[in-house]
């Protein structure tokens, strides 16, 4: 150990270890609880989530934390002001930056760059990460790497976890890494309803530098990243990036200009735990893990908050002094119960967290539920796999179904049943939300309908999500599976037919099945984008190189090949030709765009394909027949199509029985063919039988 210490001191001396913590979720996963409390202050096992994150950072020896708050900034400020982290003995300095208008991680990082607060590598983390990992080791690894690879801008902390593990929260990402260095070459986030859900495209170029790649689908994203100062700057440069993974990592890795590199840091320690509470399902999973002590030492009896006094009893029951338990009540297993709470006769509680000052009546069953502080559940109620917010009241003989989230202060019952996956909020909160939100009509309608539905004394209404702009299949799926107590059986059903579509089974297509493109729908979308690109290039006189770059981008983004590009751009370019002044305008078109065509035509097949596209173009209109021969001649002169290929293509076409327009076109071509054949014979008369091949 001795040699290690001075080194560490050295690093600390020259640069402060800083952390950027984002204290906003930018989503509605935990609504309506997050109407009043930011997600990072929601209690998990009766401790606000942010405490777990602070604890992790304190152990790692962090000195400075920048907390970016957006919504509920004041609440976070107040909380931190009264917490131990702002006391003089706090290991780090906490600075809070309020950015009300930030709507995404990208916005926050741009803000960070704008304020130029950071001069060194920093850790990017969220205020709702629960982890007991050794961050210092990850930092060390990052620093060592930076010393070798100056372009290493980011290290993503990941943990090996089966894709179906409950803490993975159904994030589906494939990391393509170089196993020897842990460099992340490609990041693939499959999205439902697109090609990316069915295949992972891997450019051949990856293999040039990295002959041995590893595709890892077994990595859970811990949402902890070690970033260099370039990361916020890159966000500023690319002002449209929102999401850290989907936009930033994918975008920078796909960039041909930048050679920034990304690495992963797989947590090697089998006992290390790391997860971000991203939604109801994960809230449930992480709570269970904390109770089951996977997160040791971050367990309830560590009493992370000042003033807590939990004691660990048998069967993972954690109890504070001052809890009144009726003699016939039963805390079965995995229960956390806070001070001042009481449980009535014959009530059974298991796998649940009960906050402080909760009143639980007689004959109540609570299973897999989370009751925040001050909740009252009256006699003969059942609560299953749900979250009840602060100060909620459930009157007697009521049932709360699976996966419900009930907002703060809601009163329901008596004698009602809240169906599964209901989200309830108070009328007052809904009205407040409606005031600040511009899409209010739905909420008001519901207010009227709901008034008596949730019991005589109820103030509850159904919470209506405000419209989110990303309503694609993936987002919907994500919000479904990440909901509390999601019934995976039902959601997963429709996956199966994607996985095993029987249509691909014929043996002929077996070989090239991997190359099969997407459905017609996407094609049109792609087609119109390419067409737009070309039109813009025509009208605004773009340089060939720029246009090409744009087309390449489109091609990769949509997983297309050069054929798809050719079939769109060739007709576009030929459309430019003025048929009444055929020769000069054709010459001009080729002068201007010949290079573009040449750069999307590479192999022999490409050449044949190009000829076929031109032929099809000319077949459409009688007037274009005269265009065919000069156009092919131009292609030949520009070396886009080689002599051999042209002859081969022509002969192959003539060999079939041609009719109508096609026959006419090939007859038109005959002079060129004859000329080529003669030239060839002159060229090498010693091997006459060569073209018989």
């Amino acid at each position: 150990m001795p040699p290690k210490k001075p080194k560490q001191q050295n690093i600390e001396a020259e640069e402060k270890l800083s952390v950027v913590m984002i204290a906003d979720s930018f989503d509605q996963q935990m609504m309506p609880l997050t109407q009043t409390t930011p997600r990072c202050l929601l209690p998990l096992c009766n401790v606000p989530l942010i405490e777990y994150t602070f604890e992790l950072l304190a152990i790692a020896g962090i000195e400075e934390i920048f907390i970016f708050c957006c919504i509920h900034a004041q609440k976070i400020k107040d909380y931190i002001a009264q917490s131990k982290w702002s006391k003089s003995h706090s290991p780090f300095e906490v600075r809070i930056i309020v950015t009300q208008e930030a709507m995404s991680v990208g916005d926050v990082l741009r803000e960070l760059d704008g304020k130029s607060l950071i001069r060194n590598d920093f850790i990017l983390i969220y205020g709702d990460v629960v982890s007991n990992m050794n961050l210092a080791k990850a930092l060390e690894a990052h620093k060592a790497r930076r010393a070798i690879d100056k372009n290493a801008i980011m290290t993503m902390v990941v943990k090996e976890t089966s894709p179906n593990h409950r803490t993975r929260g159904h994030q589906e990402a494939v990391y393509v890494i170089d196993d020897s260095t842990q460099q992340c070459i490609h990041y693939h986030a499959p999205r439902r309803g697109t090609d990316s859900y069915r295949t992972v495209p891997l450019s051949v170029e990856f293999f040039e530098k990295h002959p041995q790649l590893q595709l890892r689908y077994d990595l859970m994203d811990c949402q902890i990243d070690i970033c260099s100062v370039e990361v916020p700057a890159l966000f500023t440069e690319n002002f449209d990036y929102q999401d850290l993974r989907r936009d930033f990592v994918t975008g920078i890795l796909g960039s041909e200009v930048l050679d920034s590199t990304f690495y992963i840091y797989p947590i090697a320690d089998q006992h290390a735990y790391a997860a971000r509470v991203q939604g109801g399902q994960l809230y449930d999973a992480v709570s269970r893990d904390v109770m089951a002590r996977w997160t040791f030492p971050l367990v309830p009896e560590s009493n992370l908050q000042e003033g807590d006094a939990y004691v660990h009893k048998r069967d993972h029951v954690y109890q504070e002094p001052g809890v009144k338990l009726a003699r016939t009540s039963n805390l079965e297993r995995n229960v956390v119960i806070g001070r001042g709470s009481s449980v009535g006769d014959h009530s059974i509680i298991s796998n649940s967290v009960i906050g402080r000052d909760c009143q639980i009546g007689d004959h109540v069953t609570i299973q897999g539920a989370y009751l925040l502080d001050g909740t009252t559940v009256a006699a003969h109620c059942t609560v299953e796999r749900s979250i009840l917010g602060h100060q909620t009241t459930v009157h007697s003989h009521s049932q709360i179904g699976k996966g419900c989230i009930v907002g703060d202060g809601v009163v329901v019952g008596p004698g009602i049943r809240v169906p599964d996956h209901t989200r309830l909020t108070t009328k007052a909160a809904a009205a407040a939300a409606a005031d600040s939100d511009w899409n209010d009509s739905d909420a008001e309608d519901n207010t009227v309908v709901d008034s008596s539905r949730w019991g005589a004394e109820s103030n509850a209404v159904i919470w209506v999500p405000s419209d989110e702009d990303d309503d694609d299949a993936e987002a919907i799926y994500q919000s479904q599976v990440n909901a509390l107590a999601a019934d995976l059986g039902q959601i997963r059903m429709d996956d199966q037919d994607i996985d095993d579509s029987a249509s691909e089974a014929s043996l002929d297509s077996l070989e090239d099945m991997d190359d099969v493109g997407g459905s017609g729908d996407e094609y049109d979308h792609f087609g119109s984008e390419v067409a737009d690109t070309i039109d813009r290039a025509f009208s605004e006189g773009h340089a060939i190189a720029d246009t090409l770059l744009e087309l390449k981008g489109l091609r990769f983004a949509n997983n297309k090949n050069n054929h798809d590009i050719r079939i769109i751009i060739l007709p576009k370019i030929l459309d430019q030709v003025d048929l009444s002044h055929l020769m000069p305008s054709l010459a001009a078109a080729f002068q201007r765009w010949g290079e573009l065509i040449a750069s999307v035509v590479n192999s022999d097949q490409d050449q044949a394909d190009t000829l076929s596209i031109v032929k099809d173009f000319c077949l459409v209109d009688r007037a274009r027949v005269d265009l065919f021969l000069p156009c092919v001649k131009r292609l030949y002169d520009a070396d886009i199509v080689e002599e051999d290929m042209l002859l081969q293509w022509h002969q192959a076409a003539v060999a079939e029985k041609l009719t109508g327009g096609e026959l006419l076109l090939h007859q038109k071509l005959q002079p060129l063919i004859n000329w080529l054949l003669e030239a060839e014979e002159e060229d090498d008369d010693d091997s006459e039988d060569e073209d018989s091949d």
């Binding site: 992972v200 891997l202 293999f207 590893q214 595709l215 890892r216 996985d499 089974a505 077996l510 090949n561």
Partner: protein, 454 residues
């Protein structure tokens, strides 16, 4: 002529559980070496041993006794003579003549009535170091994992400059392995890949950690369950074992729909039934594997990290393998019966065959010279392969050449990266580079190449 048992010290145990099939019919891409007037491909010398001796010895090292060699009619006489009269191994060799144009799967279909148990297929051009123990390990990995098929993969050794007039365009082979590096999950030859490989997500959902590598090559040596032969027999559209059968099996591993539509599961079920029956009837039988068949279709691979050297499937590979293989026999680099003039130099990296004469002031480097050759004065031979009965006259220079039997290189000819066909006479003072010098009754060098590669 060739002593083969010098290297195997202890006789391996006799193995009766496999039959082996050596595919020696196809002449492959090594024109003009394997022309009718020279030698069939299987008999081309590698380090002065016929090529086919290597796979045969490989099999003998595993203890396999039952070997079928599939040959074609054009090479029937020479190969039969070699296998019956010259080859000294102890295994029982069954020679079967098949149609010259048969592809690998067609050969198997033709041989099916003779195969009644798990089998090994290997090409005649698989060259391996016979001294290593990996053939047994390869079979052991098959025995212990009990998959449908185990393929042998190898890391190709670095090229030593090749030789001959063609340069290989080497395509990488994209190979996908599971985390344990045992299962073969993906295979795609580089020449079929345009810009990107598209891996199916369901594959990753099943095998969450997938290694995708380009440094391995398929040795074309496969050990298979008997039912794979049933599949080949049933599905007439499969022509090549390596290009059709293997990819089909690899893909079917995580695509249940394919198992059904291609009838693989039906064949597997039938095999399982038969296996049960066999076990109940002949409990003493040793020819049937004892462990029950795995319910899941699995294709494994075994990586020979050393020992396997490559396949002589092109002229440059053939040249390289000659150099690699020549190092295996340090003791008889220069045959005792060879007459080497004391004023000539034979490099330590070269071989000289029986009764060959080398005259004074001649230097031979990195080359293999066959038997009964006559090398004149002041000759330089570098990086070349000379077969048998070749005359090289005074002052000739050969660099990166392959010279076939009975050829004559006359005085002061300078050849670089050329192939010289059998019985050909190269005129004095000829200067040639990157050419195929072949007998006159084959139209022209160019044409010959096109026929071969077309």
């Amino acid at each position: 002529m060739f002593s083969l048992d010098q290297t195997t010290s202890a006789k391996p145990q006799v193995v009766l559980e496999f039959q082996a099939i050596i595919l020696a019919g196809n002449q492959g891409n090594i024109y003009p070496l394997a022309a009718d007037d020279n030698l069939p491909k299987a008999l081309l010398p590698i380090a002065n041993r016929p090529m086919i001796a290597y796979p045969l010895q490989w099999l003998e090292a595993t203890g396999i006794q039952n070997i079928i060699v599939a040959i074609c009619s054009s090479s029937e006489a020479k190969l039969t003579h070699y296998l019956r009269n010259v080859y000294e191994g102890s295994a029982h060799i069954d020679i079967v003549t098949v149609d010259e144009h048969f592809s690998t799967a067609e050969v198997l279909r033709y041989l099916a009535p003779r195969i009644f148990q798990d089998f090994i297929v290997l090409p005649c051009d698989a060259v391996a170091n016979p001294q290593t123990a990996y053939p047994q390990r390869f079979l052991d990995s098959y025995r212990s994992a009990n998959p449908a098929l185990t393929a042998l993969f190898y890391e190709p050794p670095k090229s030593e400059g090749g030789g001959g007039s063609t340069k290989d365009s080497e395509w990488p082979l994209y190979v996908g392995l599971d985390a344990t590096q045992q299962r073969l999950l993906y295979m795609r030859p580089g020449d079929r890949v345009k810009e990107a490989l598209n891996l199916r997500m369901p594959l990753l959902r099943k095998f969450t950690r997938l290694n995708l590598v380009t440094h391995l090559q398929d040795a074309h040596i496969y050990v298979c369950k008997k039912w794979i032969l049933d599949l080949v027999v049933q599905k007439k559209e499969l022509t090549s074992f390596q290009k059709d059968v293997l990819p089909l099996l690899v893909r079917a591993q995580c695509r249940p729909s394919l198992l059904e539509t291609e009838g693989i599961s039906a064949i597997m079920d039938a095999a399982r039934q038969r296996h049960k029956y066999n076990q109940s009837v002949h409990e003493w039988s040793t020819t049937v594997a004892d462990d029950p068949m795995e319910p899941e279709l699995r294709v494994n691979l075994y990586i020979a990290s050393s020992g396997f050297m490559g396949r002589a499937d092109s002229v440059p590979h053939y040249c390289d393998l000659n150099k690699h293989a020549s190092r295996l026999f340090p003791d008889d680099r220069v045959a005792k019966s060879a007459e080497i003039n004391s004023r000539s130099q034979i490099g330590a990296d070269s071989m000289v065959g029986n009764l060959t004469k080398v005259d004074e002031r001649t230097s031979v480097k990195k080359s293999v010279i066959g038997a009964h050759c006559v090398i004149g004065k002041n000759v330089k031979i570098v990086n070349s392969v000379l077969m048998d009965y070749i005359t090289v006259e005074d002052g000739a220079k050969l660099d990166g050449c392959v010279i076939c039997n009975n050829a004559k290189i006359q005085a002061k000819a300078q050849l670089k990266d050329c192939e010289v066909g059998a019985s050909l006479v190269v005129d004095p003072e000829t200067q040639a580079k990157n050419e195929r010098i072949v007998s006159s009754f084959i139209p022209s060098g160019e044409e010959g190449m096109q026929v071969n590669f077309g």
